[in-house]
């Protein structure tokens, strides 16, 4: 049986949005780490095993697409016990979006997802 989601890594460069997620997720009882650039995001995701990663796409240093394909695009899934939710406001072209959707557990538009709805989605992933 899968363990319910407890630990979350937020990779998000916008301070307002990052703080918003961290604040409401912690209130909801999750343990949350937050990094603001792509390189740190990839390193942190590889060093520690999280139950869930919230991944932005337009990030400094390394794009979310690159992080996801580094983690899951190769032969071996480097984060087999971790779920990934892509959160973006950027409309990607069809190909890169399809590629991300293939490796992610959900692909959401940030402007449509309030913290409350995000927590609902995370609970759905638990089932």
């Amino acid at each position: 049986m899968l363990m319910p989601i407890k630990t979350i890594l937020v990779i998000e460069d916008d301070r307002f949005i990052g703080e918003m997620y961290v604040r409401s997720l912690m209130k909801a009882g999750y343990s949350v780490d937050w990094v603001v650039d792509g390189n740190d995001g990839l390193i942190t995701a590889r060093n520690k095993s999280y139950d869930l990663i919230l991944l932005d796409v337009m990030l400094p240093e390394k794009r979310g697409t690159e992080i996801l394909s580094a983690l899951r695009g190769g032969k071996e899934d480097l984060i087999p016990n971790t779920k990934v939710i892509v959160l973006t406001n950027f409309e990607q072209d069809d190909k890169s979006r399809a590629e991300m959707q293939q490796h992610a557990d959900a692909y959401l538009i940030k402007a449509e997802i309030t913290p409350k709805k995000l927590i609902e989605v995370i609970r759905q992933l638990d089932n």
Binding site: D14, I17, M20, F90, D93, D94, Q101, Y107, A111, K116
Partner: protein, 518 residues
């Protein structure tokens, strides 16, 4: 006196065939009887001997078959010439016009006979054209082919000639041509969806002798590539001619690219707006939660108004983005089996809040046991949001809005009814056009006028329909339909769940987000 109906050319052959076959059979029977008589007279065979009759019957049957086959072979040229005549006469027919380049005709002279018939049709339409234009000079100076070629190379218009195997036999400098590894030239433009040159040519081969078709805004590269050119493509088809297809490609980049850039700017601006919207909606969510115990009821109402306004703003931004994608033919829906009631569940809180804060009564009755539909969740929730938003806008304080759904043949039909200001009939026909605002709405209600335009685009890309019934001063009912999943499941699976198989005039859609977007 009975009136004799005028016979058509296509009626001739079947009647002629019937008469001829009847004559063959009658003559065969007569000659068989004669042979039997002679055998009986000369050889004094026993008439009661069954063998005699069997032999006579077999011989008759064989000669009838041989005669029919020979007649068919002998009549083939006449039949083909007749078929060609039918096609150029303009009579309706489902037969394929004979192709003079067919192996069967090659070098027999019949190919030239067919060609002559087709040329007559060509000459006829030229005569018609020139009589419309009496100043046409009858004498034409024909330049040498070298001169012509260099002249064609200096024009900015692309010319491409294809033979009857659809191989390029000529192209000038301005034509968008691509060479493959074997240096074979091919046309390098991207048609939209299923309305391609090949599809049109397939159709021509089946049904036409002379035909013309125009495509507008055809790019040679994808949207975000450099040096993209946009063409109007005019094709003319001339069955059997050595230059069967002539394509004229008019480079309209200068005209079209301006609006392309505008659309890109709109998409870009809308993306930028999404950042602050995320923060506003998110913090409102966080704050109204955290301050729930602290705030007085009237202050909570102010928070609700903030939330409703932020949600509406977000919906309008989605409309702008979708419209810009649709106008660039980049909008696509990804259809999945879904329940309408589940789709509505996603936006129900938002809609109730919106109706409540503007003092409207929103009654929603979408039975959860309706058949499942083929829908793109995010897009359909945007359509529902737009229709309910409109109903709120165009109804009065305290008004009732009814949302209902039911089965209508192969579709699930959704209705959004208001009892507001309504519209006269002449307004209704323009309603789904972009930026259209109804007669009174310009003065009384704010809005962009793209909500219905994009809703129609989304519903039609699902294979459904959207419409409205309205009475001036009494209110309006907007309805839209979505195909029941079971009726199109097979088509969808064949097309990898994209809507292309569903929409015959598909416009090159790309996929939308198919995972939950809100």
């Amino acid at each position: 006196m009975a009136i004799k109906t005028q016979k058509l050319i296509r009626d001739f052959l079947p009647a002629f065939r019937r008469k001829t076959f009847l004559k063959i059979i009658l003559l065969q029977i007569v000659s068989a009887l004669a042979v039997a008589g002679i055998l009986f007279g000369l050889l004094e065979l026993n008439l009661a001997d069954m063998r005699l009759w069997i032999i006579v019957a077999i011989i008759s049957a064989i000669s009838i078959i041989i005669n029919i086959i020979l007649t068919k072979i002998a009549a083939r040229p006449a039949k083909d010439l007749l078929a060609a005549t039918i096609h150029i006469s303009g009579e309706l027919t489902d037969s394929t016009p004979p192709n003079p380049n067919d192996k069967y005709y090659a070098g027999t002279g019949l190919d030239r006979a067919l060609q002559s018939i087709y040329d007559i049709a060509g000459a006829k339409s030229e005569v018609e054209a020139s009589t419309n234009n009496p100043t046409d000079q009858p004498t034409v100076v024909v330049p040498s082919s070298d001169k012509l070629k260099s002249a064609l190379d200096t024009t900015t218009c692309g010319f491409v000639v294809l033979d009857n195997k659809r191989k390029i036999t000529f192209y000038n400098k301005a034509a968008p041509i691509h060479f493959d590894s074997e240096n074979t030239p091919s046309l390098n433009v991207i048609f939209n969806g299923s309305d391609t040159l090949d599809a049109w040519l397939n159709d021509c081969e089946q049904h036409a002798v002379h035909a013309e078709h125009t495509w507008t805004r055809i790019p040679d590269k994808l949207a975000d590539e450099e040096d993209r050119r946009l063409f109007d493509v005019i094709a003319s088809y001339d069955k059997g001619s050595a230059n069967e297809v002539v394509l004229t490609l008019v480079d309209r980049t200068a005209v079209y690219s301006v609006s392309e850039q505008e659309l890109d700017f709109i998409a870009f601006a809308a993306h930028e707006l999404r950042g602050p919207i995320t923060v506003i909606r998110g913090y409102l969510d966080v704050l109204s939660d955290e301050l729930d115990d602290v705030l007085a009821e009237d202050q909570k109402e102010l928070f609700r108004r903030l939330t409703v306004s932020a949600n509406r703003l977000s919906g309008y931004i989605n409309n702008i983005l979708n419209t810009s994608r649709y106008d660039r033919r980049h909008l696509s829906v990804h259809l999945n089996e879904d329940k309408l009631s589940d789709i509505y569940d996603m936006i129900t809180d938002d809609m109730q809040l919106r109706a409540h804060s503007q003092n409207r009564m929103l009654n929603v009755n979408i039975p959860s046991d309706l058949p499942t539909v083929a829908a793109d969740r995010a897009s359909i929730s945007e359509v529902l949001g737009n229709l309910i938003d409109n109903a709120i806008k165009y109804s009065n304080e305290g008004g009732v809005i009814n949302v209902t759904a039911g089965v209508k043949s192969d579709f699930v039909e959704v209705s959004v009814q208001d009892f507001g200001i309504g519209m006269p009939g002449n307004v209704v026909s323009n309603l789904f056009q972009k930026f259209y605002r109804s007669h009174r709405s310009r003065e009384t209600v704010a809005g962009t006028g793209i909500g219905l335009y994009i809703s129609k685009a989304i519903v039609e890309s699902h294979g459904g329909n959207i419409g409205v019934r309205s009475e001036d001063g009494k209110g309006s009912v907007f309805t839209f339909t979505l195909p029941i999943y079971a009726t199109i499941a097979a088509k969808l699976q064949a097309g990898n769940n994209s809507n292309e198989a569903l929409i015959s005039q598909g416009k090159g859609w790309i996929k939308n987000h198919d995972m939950y977007r809100s």
